[in-house]
Symmetry: C2
Subunit: 562 residues, 2 copies
C-alpha cells in the first residue's frame, strides 16, 4: 500500500505517524514544498515575543530532537520529500506529479491513498502596497524570522497590525512594549470579531489600550504607501493616515485548495475541501484534513472553516484509522478557540450571541465575573464568563471567557458540556473539583450558570453594560447605585455623575434613600452584590431595579463612553 | 413562613441566602452552637501553613467584610443565633428546642421548615491516649488556631499525623518543612486510600518522601502515650514506637446525626441522614444537606458519604429552591475530590480501578503522562492521568490525576464527560481549547484517552509499573529497553540491572540487538516513545514487547523496590 501526504506540518505528519503504528507494510511518503516540517506554527508569536528564543524550539520534540527528514525516517519510519511540490493529481491512474522546487526535476508518484494536507495561506487584501518592503505576514517560520530579525536590527519603534483576529492580536501582543508602539487597524467595529461578541471584545480592547496599543476600530485599510526605497512608511485608512515603520497583515487565512480543485474534488461552501465524517473527499482514495478542509459545526450542523492545529491533529488520526479499517469518525466541532494575549486568557466555544440571534434562536445570556480560586489563596484573579443559551429550555449554545485568571479550562468544561447537549441545569449540577487553590466552593463556571438560570427564570433582573450605557447616552434618567464598600469606592470610584453610594451592608437600613421614580441599577465589582442588592430592593417594594451584569469588571470597559 | 437552619457553616448560610432572595416574607434563622459562622474550613490547612496569615481571612468576603452575625443580618436579612445548640426536635408540633451554650437558657422555636446542616465531626479512633495534651484534630477554626499556635510557640520539631486522607495529607504538607519533621501513619497500604488507587498514590508517596516526610504505611496506631504533664510524647504503632512532640488525628469524619436520629429521621446505610433528590428527609418539613447527609453516586447509583464544601453549597441552593416550589433536583455525584499538597495537584472523579473491579466491571485502564502545555512555553510541567473504563464499550467509569502541572481542570473535564455517560471515543473527540500556553496541540487528556483506546483495542500492548515490578521481583527474565536520548539517560539512568539503552531514533537500525527470548519492556520518560518503540519492534516481528505505562514518570516511583 502506497500512501502519500501532500503537506508536512500537522496533518501530513500525524496521519503518517499513526498509520505507521497501525501498518508495517505501507510505503508512507510526505511531500512538502517547503524545507521545514512538523513545526508549531502556533508558537510563532511566542518566538517573535522572544518567549521562545530559537525558532528550532518550535521544531524539536519535548526531548530535544529536531523533527526533520531524518527524524521522520528514523523515529517514524516515514519518507519525506521536502522542497517538493505536488503539482497535479491524476485521479484516474492514482498518480501525483511532483516537482522539486530547487532543481525543477519532476517525478510521478503512484498512490493507493492520497492525503491532502495542504493547509492554508494568508489572505492578503487586494489593496495597493501589500508587496512593499517591510510588509509582513505571520504564517510560516520564515515569516516570523524575518519579522523578528527586522524589528531587532532596525530597532523599530512603530508597527501597524492589520486585522485583529487571533493572529493579529497575538502579534500585537508579541510586538507591543515600552520600546515599540503598535497601532491595530480592524475593519469591523470590535477586535476578535470572529471569536467574541462585542461585549467580551470590549474587555480585550480596554486591556490592550491599557498596555499602550492604539486600536482603530471600523478602520479599513485602503492602501499601504512606500518610501523611496520601496519600504512601507504610511498606512492609508478610512480614518486617516498612519505613519509607520512596518506593517503586519493578519487579515485571516484561506484554505490552499488549488490542487484539489484542479483534480475535480468537491470544494465546499466555505471554500475549503468538502469531506465526509471520515475526512474522505468525494474520491474514496483521497482524504483531506487540517487547514485545507471543512468541518461541520456541532450546534448548527453546517459546514464551517475553523482552521486549528488541535482539530488538524485529531483529523489526522481519524484519517489513518479509517484507511486501516478502524471505525473512526471525525466529530463535528464547536469551534473552541483560545489565545493568551496582553495577560488575558481569551476564548470561545459554540455559537456567539450575535450569531445565535442571527440564526433565530430565542437567546438568553449572562455575563458574570468571579474569582478563579478562593480570594484567600495567594494566587487568584478574576475571569468573566459569558454564556449563551436558549430561553425556552436553557440549552447551552455557546460560551466566551476572558480574564487574567484561569478561564481556558472552564471553557473546556463548557465545550465538553456543549458536546453532550447540556442545558444550564446540567451545568449547575456539574460535580467540579473544589479545593481553595483551584476554585471557589461554587466554581465561577457554576456561578455563571446559576446567574444565567436566574436571568432566564426571572429570579434576577439584569442589565448589560452595553444596554445601560446606550440608555444613559440616550439621556434616560437612571440611578446607578454603587453597593461596594467605602474602601473599594474610594480606590476605584464610578465616574458617572449622580451615582449613589450605599454599601450592601447599609442598604437594609437606607433603602428608602433610593429613588423610586427611575430605573435603579445596582453596581458592584463582579455582579454578585449587585444581584443581592437588587433582590433586597425588590423585597422592599422597588419595581424598577436591575443589577449590572459583571459589575464594574465589565462596566468599567464601557463607562468612559458616557 | 418560619425556616430554621441547624448549623451555620456552609449549608445553613447557603440555604438562608438563597431563600431570602426568593422570599421576602420568610423568617429565616440560623442556629449555630459555635461562635463562628460561614467560614472556609477548606482553607484551614493554608492557615496552618501560613499561606493564609490570619484566621479571619477564612471568614471574610472577597471584598473584606467579616461574615458574622451582623453580616447575615445586614447583607442577607437573616437572623443568627450563635452559641446556641439545637437539642431536640418535636416533629409533631414542628418545634425545635434550643439551648444557649453559655447561659444555659433554653427556648422553643416554631418552624414550618427545618434544615439540618449539622455537618460532621472528626472520627477519632477508640485507642488510649487520644485525650492527651498536644493531640489535635483539624476540623474547626479553633483546632487550626490551637495547632498553629502550639507549633509556633513551642518550636516543635516533630509531629505525627495519623491518617492520610485529604486532611491528613494537607496537614502533613502544611507542617512539614526544613524545621519540622512529619511522620505520617496510615493503616492502609497506601496514602489517600479513599481517593486514589495504589499506583497513583505511589506518586504522592514518593513526592512526600522526597520532601522529607516519613511515611509509615500499613501502620495502625495502637495507642498514644503521654509524659508526666499529660502531653503526648510517643506513638505506639503496629510497626513500633515513634517519639513525637504532637499528634494530629486525621482519620476521617463522621456525620453529626444525633439530632436527626433522636427525632426519628431515617439514617442511611452510610450513617448519614437519608434524603431524597430534593434533599428532603422522610419528614417533608425537614431537609438535610452537607456533611450530615448522604448523596447518591452517579456511577453506582448507591448512597455514598463524600462530605465536601462544593456539594454542600449546591445542596443548599436546591433546598431553598425546593422549599419555594422551584423545581430543582440534586443530582447524583461523582465524588470529584482534589487537593494540592507537596507541590502536586491530586484528584479523582468517579470510580477507582480497585472499586470498579470489586463491583465486577470488566475494567480497562490507562496510566499516561504528558505535559500540561507545550514544552517550548516557558511554564510547563508533567501530569499523570489514570483513566478507568469498561473494556467492552469503553464507557468511562472514573479518572485520577496527579502532577505538578495543571491536572485539576482536566479532571473537571473528565467529571463533566462522566456525568454525560461518555465513552473513551467521546473523550478523543472533545473539542478542547488549544494554544501553546494552555495545552499541547493534542491535549494531555486526549492523549490519555487515545492511550486507553489503544490499550482497549489491542493497538498498544502495555504493562503497568506495578505489574512489571512484581514480575521482576518474582525473578522473571525481562529485558528493559530504555529508548530515551543519551542525555536523558545520563541525567536520570534507569537503576535496574541489565537495562538495554537504544534511543528511539537508533532503534530502526539496531532492533536486532533486542533479545527475542524474553519479554521486552520499552521505557521512556512519559510513555509516548515507549509506545512508539513497542510498535516499531512489533513491526520487526517481535511478539513479546510491551511499553511501560507512564514511562519513568510512573516507573521511578516503583523501581527502588527492585
Ligand atoms: C501565528 C499562528 C498562530 C496559530 N495559533 C494557533 C493556536 O493557538 N491554536 C491552534 O489550534 N491553531 C493555531 N494556528 C493554526 C495552526 O497552525 C494550523 O491549524 C495548522 O498549522 C494546520 O496544519 P496543516 O497541516 O493543516 O496545514 P499547514 O500548517 O498550513 O501546512 C500545510 C503544508 O502543506 C504544504 N503544501 C501546500 N501545498 C503543497 C503542495 N502542493 N505540495 C507540497 N506541499 C504543499 C505547505 O508548504 C505547508 O507546509 C496558528 C497558526 C498561525 C500561523
Ligand atoms: C481541613 C479541612 C479541609 C477541607 N477541604 C475541603 C476541600 O478542599 N474541598 C471541599 O469541597 N471540602 C473540604 N472540606 C470539607 C468542608 O469543609 C465541609 O464539607 C463543609 O464544611 C460542610 O459544611 P456543612 O455546613 O455541611 O457542615 P459543617 O461545616 O460541619 O458545619 C456544621 C455546623 O453545624 C453546627 N452544629 C452541629 N450540630 C448542631 C446543633 N445541634 N445545634 C447547633 N449547631 C450545630 C456545628 O457547630 C457546625 O458549625 C474540608 C474540611 C476540613 C475540615
Ligand atoms: C456567604 C454565603 C452565605 C453567601 O451565599 P450566597 O449569597 O448565596 O452567595 P454565593 O457566593 O454562595 O452564591 C452567589 C450567588 O450570586 C449569584 N452570582 C454569582 N456570581 C454572580 C455574578 N457575577 N453576577 C450575578 N450573580 C452572581 C449566584 O447565582 C448565586 O445566587 P443564587 O444562589 O441565588 O443563584 C455562603 O456562600 C457561605 O456561607 N459561604 C461560606 C462557607 C463556604 O462555602 N465554605 C466553603 C469553603 S470550605
Ligand atoms: C511529531 C508528530 C508527527 C508525532 O505524531 P505522533 O507520533 O502521532 O505523536 P502525537 O504526540 O501526535 O501522539 C501521541 C501518540 O502517542 C500516544 N500517547 C500519548 N501519550 C502517551 C503516553 N503517555 N503513553 C503512551 N502513549 C501515549 C497517543 O495515543 C498517540 O498515539 P496514537 O495516535 O497512535 O493513538 C506530530 O505530532 C506532529 O507533527 N506534530 C507537530 C506539528 C503540530 O502538531 N503542530 C501544532 C502546533 S501549531
Ligand atoms: Ca507585549
Ligand atoms: Ca510543606
Amino acid at each position: 500500500m502506497k500512501v502519500i501526504m501532500v503537506g508536512g506540518v500537522v496533518v501530513g505528519p500525524k496521519v503518517s505517524a499513526r498509520l505507521r503504528r497501525l501498518n508495517s507494510e505501507a510505503e508512507i511518503t510526505i511531500i512538502e514544498k517547503g524545507s521545514l516540517l512538523s513545526y508549531g506554527a502556533c508558537g510563532l508569536p511566542l518566538y517573535v515575543a522572544n518567549l521562545v528564543p530559537q525558532l528550532d524550539g518550535l521544531m524539536r520534540t519535548s526531548y530535544g530532537v529536531l523533527r526533520d527528514t531524518d527524524f521522520f525516517q528514523s523515529q517514524k519510519d516515514v519518507n519525506v520529500l521536502t522542497q517538493t511540490e505536488a503539482v497535479k493529481i491524476d485521479r484516474a491512474h492514482k498518480k501525483v506529479f511532483v516537482r522539486n522546487v530547487v532543481t525543477g526535476v519532476e517525478e510521478t508518484l503512484d498512490y493507493d491513498y492520497l492525503v491532502l494536507a495542504t493547509g492554508a495561506k494568508p489572505s492578503v487584501p487586494p489593496i495597493p502596497g501589500v508587496n512593499l518592503g517591510q510588509v509582513f505576514t505571520l504564517h510560516r517560520p520564515q515569516d516570523a524570522q524575518a519579522l523578528k530579525e527586522f524589528i531587532k536590527t532596525k530597532k523599530v519603534k512603530h508597527v501597524t497590525v492589520m486585522g485583529s483576529g487571533l493572529i493579529g492580536i497575538e502579534t500585537a501582543d508579541a510586538l507591543a512594549g515600552p520600546r515599540l508602539k503598535v497601532t491595530l487597524c480592524e475593519a469591523e467595529s470590535q477586535v476578535l470579531p470572529k471569536l467574541l461578541d462585542g461585549d467580551m471584545a470590549k474587555l480585550v480592547e480596554r486591556q490592550m489600550e491599557g498596555q499602550g496599543v492604539d486600536i482603530r476600530l471600523s478602520c479599513r485599510v485602503k492602501a499601504l504607501e512606500g518610501d523611496a526605497e520601496g519600504n512601507v512608511c504610511r498606512v492609508q485608512t478610512e480614518q486617516g493616515t498612519i505613519e509607520t515603520e512596518a506593517v503586519v497583515i493578519a487579515t485571516g487565512v484561506r484554505p490552499e485548495v488549488s490542487l484539489a480543485r484542479e483534480a475535480g474534488l468537491m470544494i465546499g461552501s466555505t471554500g475549503a475541501i468538502k469531506v465526509d465524517e471520515h475526512m474522505m473527499t468525494n474520491d474514496p482514495a483521497i482524504y483531506a484534513g487540517g487547514d485545507c478542509a471543512e468541518q461541520l459545526h456541532l450546534v448548527t450542523g453546517e459546514p464551517v472553516y475553523i482552521p486549528l492545529a488541535s482539530t488538524a491533529n485529531k483529523q489526522g488520526r481519524v484519517i489513518a484509522d479509517h484507511m486501516m479499517g478502524i471505525s473512526a469518525r471525525y466529530a463535528p466541532v464547536e469551534g473552541t478557540s483560545v489565545l493568551q494575549a496582553f495577560d488575558l486568557n481569551i476564548g470561545r466555544t459554540g455559537l456567539g450571541e450575535a450569531e445565535a440571534r442571527k440564526r433565530g434562536y430565542n437567546v438568553v445570556t449572562s455575563v458574570s465575573s468571579g474569582l478563579d480560586s478562593t480570594h484567600y489563596y495567594p494566587m487568584h484573579a478574576n475571569i468573566t464568563i459569558k454564556l449563551i443559551a436558549e430561553q425556552e429550555n436553557g440549552r447551552l449554545l455557546g460560551a466566551q471567557v476572558c480574564g487574567v485568571g484561569e478561564s481556558v479550562k472552564r471553557l473546556d468544561v463548557l465545550a465538553t458540556a456543549l458536546k453532550f447537549g447540556a442545558n444550564v441545569r446540567d451545568l449547575i449540577d456539574l460535580d467540579l473539583a473544589y479545593a481553595p487553590p483551584f476554585a471557589t466552593a461554587i466554581d465561577v463556571l457554576i456561578h455563571a450558570a446559576t446567574t444565567l438560570e436566574n436571568i432566564r427564570l426571572g429570579v434576577a433582573k439584569a442589565i448589560t453594560a452595553e444596554a445601560l450605557v446606550s440608555r444613559l447616552q440616550a439621556g434616560e434618567k437612571i440611578c446607578l447605585l454603587d453597593v461596594r464598600e467605602r474602601e473599594e469606592v474610594a480606590a476605584n470610584p464610578l465616574s458617572i455623575e449622580g451615582t449613589m453610594v450605599i454599601a450592601l451592608g447599609e442598604l437594609r437600613e437606607r433603602w428608602e434613600e433610593v429613588p423610586k421614580d427611575s430605573l435603579v441599577v445596582t453596581v458592584c465589582g463582579l455582579g454578585i452584590r449587585g444581584y443581592d442588592a437588587a433582590c433586597m430592593l425588590e423585597r422592599k417594594g422597588a419595581d424598577q431595579v436591575v443589577f449590572l451584569q459583571g459589575g464594574l469588571s465589565v462596566g468599567n470597559a464601557y463607562f468612559d463612553q458616557v
